[in-house]
Symmetry: none
Amino acid sequence: MRAEIVSVGDELLKGERVNTNAAFISRALAGIGVPVGRVVACSDREDEMVSVFAESLQRADLVLVTGGLGPTRDDRTKKAVEQLLGRGTELNQEAYQNLAVRIKTYGLEMSPSLREQAMVIEGSQVIPNTRGSAAGMIISCGKQFQNHYMVLMPGVPSEMKAMMEFTVLPYFTGLSKTIIRHTPIKTLGIGESRLAEMIVEVEDRLPAGTTLAYLPHAAGVNLMISTIGRDRDEVDRDNRSVVEAIVLKADKYIYATSEVTLEEIILGMLASRGFTVAVAESCTGGLVASRLTDVPGSSSCFLQGFVVYSNQAKHRTLGVPEETINKFGAVSEEVAQAMAIGCLEKSGADFAVATTGIAGPSGGSPEKPVGTLCLAIAQKNSSDLISRRLVLQGDRQQNKLRFSEAALRELWHFLRQG
Amino acid sequence: MRAEIVSVGDELLKGERVNTNAAFISRALAGIGVPVGRVVACSDREDEMVSVFAESLQRADLVLVTGGLGPTRDDRTKKAVEQLLGRGTELNQEAYQNLAVRIKTYGLEMSPSLREQAMVIEGSQVIPNTRGSAAGMIISCGKQFQNHYMVLMPGVPSEMKAMMEFTVLPYFTGLSKTIIRHTPIKTLGIGESRLAEMIVEVEDRLPAGTTLAYLPHAAGVNLMISTIGRDRDEVDRDNRSVVEAIVLKADKYIYATSEVTLEEIILGMLASRGFTVAVAESCTGGLVASRLTDVPGSSSCFLQGFVVYSNQAKHRTLGVPEETINKFGAVSEEVAQAMAIGCLEKSGADFAVATTGIAGPSGGSPEKPVGTLCLAIAQKNSSDLISRRLVLQGDRQQNKLRFSEAALRELWHFLRQG
């Protein structure tokens, strides 16, 4: 089974939106052994869509379309499919109920243009939309297209992702004969080339059907070990042997071999030991707290955060001595330590993490350039007080992200040793 | 003149890389009045590239290709073009010099596979690579393809971008006769279908050459007004008239008609009046503070934030009375108001914004379901104290984002009226 992806929307052709949907769908399909042959982004003009859909259906067994299912006039995907297949639409009751509930929640009245979102192509299987109002569809396109399939989904990423996960992948998993196993290896505090040197022997002796990809991200690099084959046990065994060999070589830098975030790992370590944490942030501006509270259930371990941007706030809220700020500067390991200690006292938490730095673009100096981060970690009833100074490179938002990553990384190291 | 973009590389089809190059090229071409008809991502197999290039050259006057010009085995773009056009390659002296200098810098020796990067398609114009070693090309494809153009560039974003800026755009600016003007209209607090109803009269009477696109995002919808034509004054006038007509209809919901974020608008309003702000967050967990501090220079207006996740933190840090929490619950307008007042007092800021709610997935009740947000805004030396209660729908991270958007939106409304 071979797939193509069609991303509908003039905003993609004008470069107003980057096509992240296609990358997500490709990865998801790879997971069930369905390779993607082409990705086409096209206009939402009806005639153009009809041509693109017809061409893709000739080449591929499965054509996944995103976009053009909403309530406004530039949403014409269904019209194009009606024309292409010579079919009409029909009201789907399940989709209509979902729509009616959503409309009521927002205090709106049902209207013909809204109702249109519960209309599906005749003879299609509806894909429930758990995050929005437009129904998705799986359509078997009949003999004229060798019974190839079309899948229609909204362009809103969260709606499309939920549809892929809950309906589309389970549906086509049964139809695909290939087994693929992907295992991520998530690392921290090591760059791509050093990691490659460390695991060169494993990479030189990969079993047939297994590949190793480096996936650099804003704050480091992850690995993806992929094994493809026809026998489930063999695929699982080969995949596992490579993952284990890499863990042996680079254990120190690996925080997970599954799709889990660093924040989840940290909160899990805290929860299992009954510990609580609080954060004091200057340069990260609340991002460390926001990342920790992205994790469901974080309230059991995360007590509070202090975003102390001004010097006055550092002093008044956390009791950082004014003389420490004057002597060492707001961006210093001394101030980071004082912030961590103040945070511990004010919050009553078991651990406190503090950040102070220069995210840029201005505020740097030769001694403390843009990208300088000072961080500290303090523990209740303990004299252990860790602090670090790093210099990173990036624009303001990248720096904030990397600063927050560095703070979480240090906390992870601290908890791992303790 | 009409363009298509072909992005070559298996990593795009596996979803290992998001196609940001295509978005960049589209935006750059829009700037010189060249619309993009399709974007195709395809495999680096030679036969597949030949088909894709031929199809695009039939439809478009200009086909821009990225990827497959490097020194490794999977770089076969030139081979495909040779086959398609029936031409050979020739060594380009300028490209060879550039290559030789770079190779020397890295301490390497010239080799046949490296030298290959200075070979260009016969009769092409070379595009100097100021950031890397592979030469780019502008090729007039001859009568068999109605003298349409191909542009070959590397897939490395920095190399491609420099080639676009210094060579490709200047070259085709002269050949393009079309002018395009895009104006974004950024809205808040209104959904796609209600906005569409509100501006239906404008949409019904768009001037020829002007289109209106809805760009939904996590917390609302933006519009993009695009006008294409041959006369710059006419294009500008038509575009402006539509933007003005929409602003008249929906002024209440519009915060910008340029590429600016809500955070930037808010900080600009504060700065211009010499005001400062602080935030007190429970359910948004630091995200409001983090968004405000994403803006360069935010330290002049943003004093500090309090992430008060536990009830104890709300009481101890911000002085929220325990009886208020016990009587109304932590998620209540009363607690939000007390948080805002406490935040004002502790920070000394002119404005305070407070959020408390249930991001989910657990913690909801029939009375206060997941997605409930209570927010409040307080102003120094003023009895004005605004609070709101909303119920939104989404997963935890969507809720946090929409909660933060709602808080910023209320602050914007407050500042706008004040």
